[in-house]
């Protein structure tokens, strides 16, 4: 079989399952992140700070494991770019952190949030202007606001940052092609979507600041979410697969109960996410709900979406319950506990994979994966057991 034939067979298998159909066997699509560095024998610093190392490690894994699809570089933050811009909210392996610790986000305390509570109107009036002229100078060690004198460091950070981002995104396109030609492996996702409320918490107000605002000024939070929507939608569309085969990844962070209360989900989170997903689906793009943590409380809300419009990935949720509520409408993925990959034995991994296949994959519409991204704590023999068992037992 040529690599192209292998690629086409895997693409058929993967996309059939994505559409909630029954392929020839259960597809395997692990979201392997720092695991690829461990497997390839390179440091996390090397893979995070030099994306070319990460790409080679990703290709090596895709070549060695019989996976249908992988994310082209799940070590997605190139910290070389981060350093060039002087972003304050990262811990960089080998720089701020030991060389074999994955990159970290640093959220400032509420009183030092990157966006202040009285700045909602500025953000709402023109989100891009606010980000460029207020937010970026605050999150960068080098970039100055318009009111301050520019410096050499300021000029260089903008130039280097812009050029580096273009280099990185262009290189990612090359990786997608190499996965196909060298390994016969499908790039699992294309493009990204985030919820407006999550963005407010992640990078602007911080989680504590946002929760305070949800109670003190909910109308401002809603208006800010609405103002962010057109931009988040266009970013999702910009990166989407032009062939409409693979989904846009929707990275879900802290928009679920108990991080926020049910009313805030119902009145703010969901009304500013659902229309974007529906519009993407109208244009032929599926969205992969990467439900990090446990979103079981909201399954009925997700049922409101058109059948087939999403793929629902389960992390800490009860995948058997998810299957009962959503399985007739959407493909599911994940559900294999990451702690089992890190601490269990190959026999335990096989037993859990059997439970998953028996419980949720009998009629198709399931893709094997761990609950969360697979980092360097996963044992190689356990990832191999997941792969081999699924191939043996997951035949239809």
């Amino acid at each position: 079989m040529t690599q192209e034939e292998r690629y086409q067979a895997r693409l058929r298998r993967y996309t059939t399952a994505l559409r909630n159909g029954k392929p020839d066997m259960v597809p395997i699509r692990p979201f392997v992140a720092e695991f690829v560095a461990k497997y390839a024998g390179v440091s996390i610093q090397a893979a995070t700070h030099d994306y070319r190392v990460a790409f080679e490690a990703c290709l090596r894994c895709a070549g060695d494991f019989d996976w249908d699809a992988v994310v082209p570089n799940m070590i997605y933050v190139w910290t070389g770019l981060v350093q060039a811009i002087g972003l304050k909210y990262y811990g960089i392996p080998g720089l701020d952190l030991p060389e074999n610790v994955a990159f970290q986000y640093k959220e400032p305390p509420e009183e030092h949030a990157f966006m202040r509570p009285d700045e909602y109107d500025l953000l709402i009036a023109d989100p891009t202007d606010y980000l460029l002229n207020v937010w970026l100078p605050r999150v960068s060690n080098f970039i100055k606001p318009p009111s301050e004198k520019v410096t050499v460091e300021h000029n260089l950070a903008l130039l280097k940052g812009g050029m580096a981002m273009m280099e990185y995104f262009n290189a990612l396109g090359g990786l997608v092609q190499e996965l196909r030609t060298r390994c016969g492996t499908v790039a699992a996702i294309s493009g990204m979507l985030k919820a407006p409320l999550d963005i407010l918490a992640d990078k602007l107000r911080g989680y504590y600041g946002l929760v305070s605002d949800l109670h003190a000024r909910p109308e401002k939070v809603l208006a800010a979410c609405e103002a962010l929507m057109p931009h988040l939608f266009l970013i999702a569309l910009d990166g989407a697969d032009p062939t409409k085969n693979v989904p846009i990844a929707f990275w879900m962070h802290r928009g679920c109960v108990p991080f926020i209360n049910p009313e805030h989900f119902r009145k703010i989170y969901w009304p500013t996410v659902k229309p974007m997903v529906e519009e993407l689906w109208k244009r032929g793009h599926q969205v992969l709900f990467y439900a990090e943590g446990n979103w079981d409380y909201h399954l009925e809300a997700f049922r409101e979406l058109p059948p087939g419009s999403i793929v629902y990935h389960v992390d800490k949720g009860d995948i058997f319950r998810v299957h009962r509520v959503l399985g007739d409408r959407f493909c599911l993925s994940g559900g294999l506990p990451n702690d089992l990959l890190a601490l269990g034995t190959p026999e335990e991994v096989r037993a859990y994979c059997k439970k998953l296949i028996d419980g949720v994959a009998r009629d198709g519409g399931y893709i094997m994966d761990a609950g969360a991204i697979i980092q360097d704590d996963a044992k190689v023999e356990n990832v191999r057991a997941m792969t081999e068992f699924t191939r043996e037992y997951g035949q239809y």
């Binding site: 811009i85 972003l87 891009t128 460029l132 929507m229 974007m276 519009e279």
Partner: protein, 56 residues
């Protein structure tokens, strides 16, 4: 009633052509061509700042 997000704001550019025209008060040739290229290049800084927010 939820606002129609597709018609809100000006996603895809940092500085709109209407704002930029202050710097080019007279366009002797085809303004639509100048506008189109302006907006195409404006897309890059817009993409940059939004990807810094969302991806990095």
């Amino acid at each position: 009633m939820q606002k129609d997000f597709l018609v809100l704001g000006h996603p895809g550019v940092c500085m709109t052509w209407e704002e930029a025209k202050a710097y080019f008060p007279v366009v002797q040739g085809d303004e639509s061509l100048v506008r189109e290229i302006w907006e195409r290049i404006e897309y890059w800084p817009w993409l940059f700042i939004w990807h810094i927010l969302l991806s990095f």
